[in-house]
Symmetry: C2
Subunit: 330 residues, 2 copies
Amino acid sequence: MSFPLRGHALYPAKGGAEMDIAQELLNGSRLALTRAITAIENEYDEATDIMKKIYPHTGNAFVLGITGPPGAGKSTLTDKLAREYRKQGKTVGIVAIDPTSPFSGGAILGDRIRMNGLTLDEGVFIRSMGTRGSLGGLSHKTADAVKAMDAFGKDIIFVETVGVGQSEVDIVKAADTTMVVLIPGMGDDIQAIKAGILEIGDVFTINKADHEGADRLVTELNMMLDLDGVMKDWRPPIQKVVANQGIGIQEVIAIIDKHHSYIKGNGQLAERRIKRTKDEMLDILNSRIGSYITEKIVDTGIIDDFVRDIKARKTDPYTVAAGIMHDILK
Amino acid sequence: MSFPLRGHALYPAKGGAEMDIAQELLNGSRLALTRAITAIENEYDEATDIMKKIYPHTGNAFVLGITGPPGAGKSTLTDKLAREYRKQGKTVGIVAIDPTSPFSGGAILGDRIRMNGLTLDEGVFIRSMGTRGSLGGLSHKTADAVKAMDAFGKDIIFVETVGVGQSEVDIVKAADTTMVVLIPGMGDDIQAIKAGILEIGDVFTINKADHEGADRLVTELNMMLDLDGVMKDWRPPIQKVVANQGIGIQEVIAIIDKHHSYIKGNGQLAERRIKRTKDEMLDILNSRIGSYITEKIVDTGIIDDFVRDIKARKTDPYTVAAGIMHDILK
């Protein structure tokens, strides 16, 4: 595959000096970082080369996952936390995922506009990612975007996503520490949402804590965590905040730091990262094999013959799959 | 793998007559249908055999997907629609998916309790499905559960899921017609949610239409659909309902029937089903290859050596994946 954007302003035209994206990224070029993530997001051929080259320089950043239902104020909270970390002299990367629009492609950028002040800060790099039409693969792309920011030298990287379904949970797995943001008055299905995210939250934040029902939500959540946490040695703290007024931000930072020290001290951070490396490797392998199958079975049209026979009920998908397995595996 | 539940009340103990689940299902045994879906859900070995045997008897049911954000009243609406179809003499299957709890396993059954009246009706078969700890694969399991109900002889099968993220969209692909349920007053992020589900909805229902903001939601949705639908020949209708009072149910049924006739008449139903068969086959193939990899690389512990080298930055996941590909593919 040739490079679709060759000739575009961001990419030197033929005859111009080719940019070594990985090297420039490691040298601290923001343009190279932008291009690296674009390559990752669009699955350009060079993405793998870039990842291979930057990989030895990853593993230094602290990755904070932020998830919660739509409308919980995650962007505002991320904004405030990022500013606080900047005050401490830390550099910040933000990967904002919007998996709600799987078909139309591109992230909803409205929320990001609120972060305008941050984008003027050279110490902050913000990137929104959508699924851009390609179904699946978002968790893998997110993990690679985090690695690009990590190799670039960011001290702390936020991964922000709307957390209700499975894909969002997968995305949050790229994080060392996961913060779940909830708000009072979320209606009937809060039980269902809470049940799902209870197990992924290391830290819970109740945003809009000045609204009615905040204390009741804290009580409910405490009950659920007590029930859930009998066998766990880290009891996720719950912190009330009013993100848009900056209330409770310092306290959240302290809790995040505490969790970070905790998992660093007892070996859990190393364990989580080994688990993550394993999952990532299997993910890459599965996606490569998927491409191989597409190339051999789908692009060649072989699959259409199979589908015709299945449709006529001459065979079934299970028998066909077994046959293909036999044909392609050693 | 042996049958984990052998000896359980549902499964005859050693020496007892083995039930031919597929045959009994085709003969109309509800117990066999229950056991078939349990086998599908838990990935028991015999699931594939059952699916192979029942496959020739599938393709007759009309499959209606119902999705929408948490709290939209999807269960109540499903309940009312099911009762209406029963009055028409049609048999009904309901697969209710709860993907919000990926780790704890099992579906939240609270909503289903409201359907108690329905469960007493022999013409209705209801099954809740969660992810039961195994990540992913839910869309494939859902499709197989639908096929089991289809082969059993159900005329219309509902697939009900909480639709916000990617996994829910994948699940809804098992449907011939997809209905999206929205409610007024959903807060700031309704734009994001609507953008995602706009493209999967064949029919839109505004539930709780007696609440404030219903007309504004209809207007907004109309604008979005007009914008989106320029090139489409089916303009998704919007129907206001108050599901718990039974208001608007007849109208929704009429719209669903209209869409069904429409896609049947112009060949779209056949096209959708061919596309679905193709996707399903690839899904089965990918999942089988995934199991093969687990068996060869993970269960043998080979992966741990790789991960150690990656962690030491002696290699990277991309290089390792390429090496494994080379080793296992013909």
